[in-house]
Amino acid sequence: MYALGPAEWQAIDVTLRLCLYTTIILLLLATPLAWWLAKGRSRGRNVVQAIVSLPLVLPPTVLGFYLLVVMGPRGIVGKTLQDLGFHHLAFSFEGILMASILYSMPFAVQPLTEAFSNLGRRPVEVASSLGAGALDRFRTVIFPLTRSGFVVAATLTFAHTMGEFGVILMLGGSIPGETKVLSVLIYDHVEAMNYEAAHSLSLLLLIFAFTTLFVVYSLTRRFQVVRV
């Protein structure tokens, strides 16, 4: 078996950091968004739901292309950042982090929306009547009762980010230590006819993906049984 070299370890490091940050940021963003989608009465919900779900159906290249346009040195976001003295976001870790957050959004938002819908309004109303304010209610009632939703959202986001390829290649290119994630490295290995290296990394990802999904499905099933 091909031993992992420094290039591989570097790619693993970038990949894990990307997955971790994406998961943390997405959970923070998706929780209020999913709550609003599950409980809100506004008509804008369908529009937002559709936008959030776009990455599920769009080719990653489309998303990557537009992100490149917007975040690149001439795009609205990229140019503004440059004018303010920062670096534009194309071909940078921050750039692919932004892209991952958008690309994995549905995998965080949908399980949470479903968990919040299933929760119903009763437990929250009960907690309010017992004197719990909004944060208190979230901490002591909503979160414990929708924990399975959070577990699923976090694992799927993490795993899906690890499986990203097209968007990253479009927006981030293949800069070692910055944007070269495992999936891109595998592609590079294949292009260089280095099949043995590609195989090791591919197998690694395959096992990881299977384990993650297996764990998620066992967890959700277990949580469903536990739910009263």
């Binding site: 009763r122 009547s129 719990a132």
Partner: protein, 357 residues
């Protein structure tokens, strides 16, 4: 303490709720009406769960809602009990009971776990998980949990609707006791005349989103056309102390001059007044005090009113020696044969087994 509500809400095109009323909150207020008349919406408005634009709600001198001002439920000091079980499934019975208690400032705590669990008979359940409780037990724990925030007001949304008749009969005395002993005013939504008659002191009648009238239970029962009278006809409610059972298991009820005998186990006797319900069609009238008859209860009464006959039946309202009103339903033929008229003294006969405890 006065409750004042002003609200106008229209939804779905055909439902409208229009309220502009105030009434004093003491004892139990029954919010009575058919399904879909707006009872629950009104309750949710009082609780602050329904934020109706332009509505105004005040409780004593506290403005709960007025213009842009809106006090959220968790700051209103309202205990809520819902129809179906609403215990938090991830907490034990004790943690459910204490959830609100812990969040109540110590200086505001008037009711504590030992006395509340004794009042509701749930001491033995404290260590259990929620899924180990029966429906009736869950509802008692919900009541206890709401009481333990030492609320200024308790809102009960059809608290017995999801329970079977047997369990309902078990819970009823606890509710009555809770209302009397906790000193917390209660608003209870119900579509069951029986529950209202047993528990309410004042009734808000709601129909098609409008409050028809607000009156005391006694005022309402004295009205021939009371909405409380359903298929079973007119009903009277007597209040009195229930004594200890004798050897034959029959218990005395009320003062000596208006004593009834009730075959009933279960409910504790005590100085606290108990209510019993008497259906008008279970009551007979006699000009003399008959002996040699199986009917145990003979009460001397005076006729206060005879309602005009309907379907050749009349409701005769009689005043007992201790001043309470009991209705008797007799045929108009009986009225003329016995020469019944207002002011006449006679005897009222009630079969003990017909008395609804």
């Amino acid at each position: 303490m006065m409750l004042r509500i002003q609200a106008h809400l229209r939804y779905g095109g055909d439902f409208e709720l229009r309220v502009d009323h105030e009434w004093p909150l003491e004892g139990v207020t029954g919010l009575f009406g058919r399904s879909g008349c707006g009872k629950t919406t009104l309750l949710r408005l009082i609780a602050g769960l329904e934020r109706i634009r332009g509505a105004a709600v005040s409780f004593g001198d506290q403005q709960w809602q007025q213009g842009r001002q809106f006090v959220p439920l968790h700051r209103r000091g309202i205990g809520l009990v819902f129809q179906e079980h609403s215990l938090l499934p991830h907490l034990s019975v004790q943690d459910n009971l204490l959830y609100g208690y812990k969040r109540t400032p110590a200086r505001l705590r008037r009711l504590h776990l030992p006395e509340v669990s004794a009042m509701l008979g749930i001491e033995e359940l404290l260590g259990r998980r929620i899924d180990q409780l029966s429906g009736g037990q869950r509802q008692r724990v919900s009541l206890g949990r709401a009481l333990l925030i030492s609320p200024q007001l308790l809102l009960l949304d059809e608290p017995m609707a999801a329970l079977d008749t047997q369990t309902r009969r078990e819970i009823m005395p606890f509710l009555g006791r809770m209302a009397a002993e906790s000193g917390v005013p209660i608003i209870m939504v119900s579509h069951s005349p029986d529950e209202i008659e047993r528990l309410a002191d004042r009734i808000v009648f709601l129909q098609d989103g409008l409050i028809q009238r607000i009156e005391t239970l006694h005022e309402s029962l004295a009205r021939p056309d009371s909405p409380l009278f359903d298929d079973a006809g007119a009903v009277s409610v007597l209040e009195g102390a229930l004594g200890e059972a004798g050897e034959d298991g029959v218990r005395p009820f009320g003062p000596p001059e208006a004593r009834l005998w009730i075959p009933r186990a279960g409910q504790a006797s005590g100085s606290r007044p108990t209510r019993i319900l008497i259906r008008a069609r279970d009551v007979s009238l006699s000009l003399v005090d008959p002996h040699h008859i199986s009917i145990q209860n003979h009460l001397p009464v005076t006729i206060e009113r005879i309602d005009p006959p309907a379907d050749s039946r009349c409701v005769v309202a009689c005043r007992t020696a201790d001043g309470q009103l009991v209705l008797a339903e007799v045929t108009s033929r009986a009225v003329s044969q016995l020469g019944l008229e207002t002011g006449k003294s006679l005897y009222m006969l009630i079969k003990s087994v017909a008395l609804l405890g």
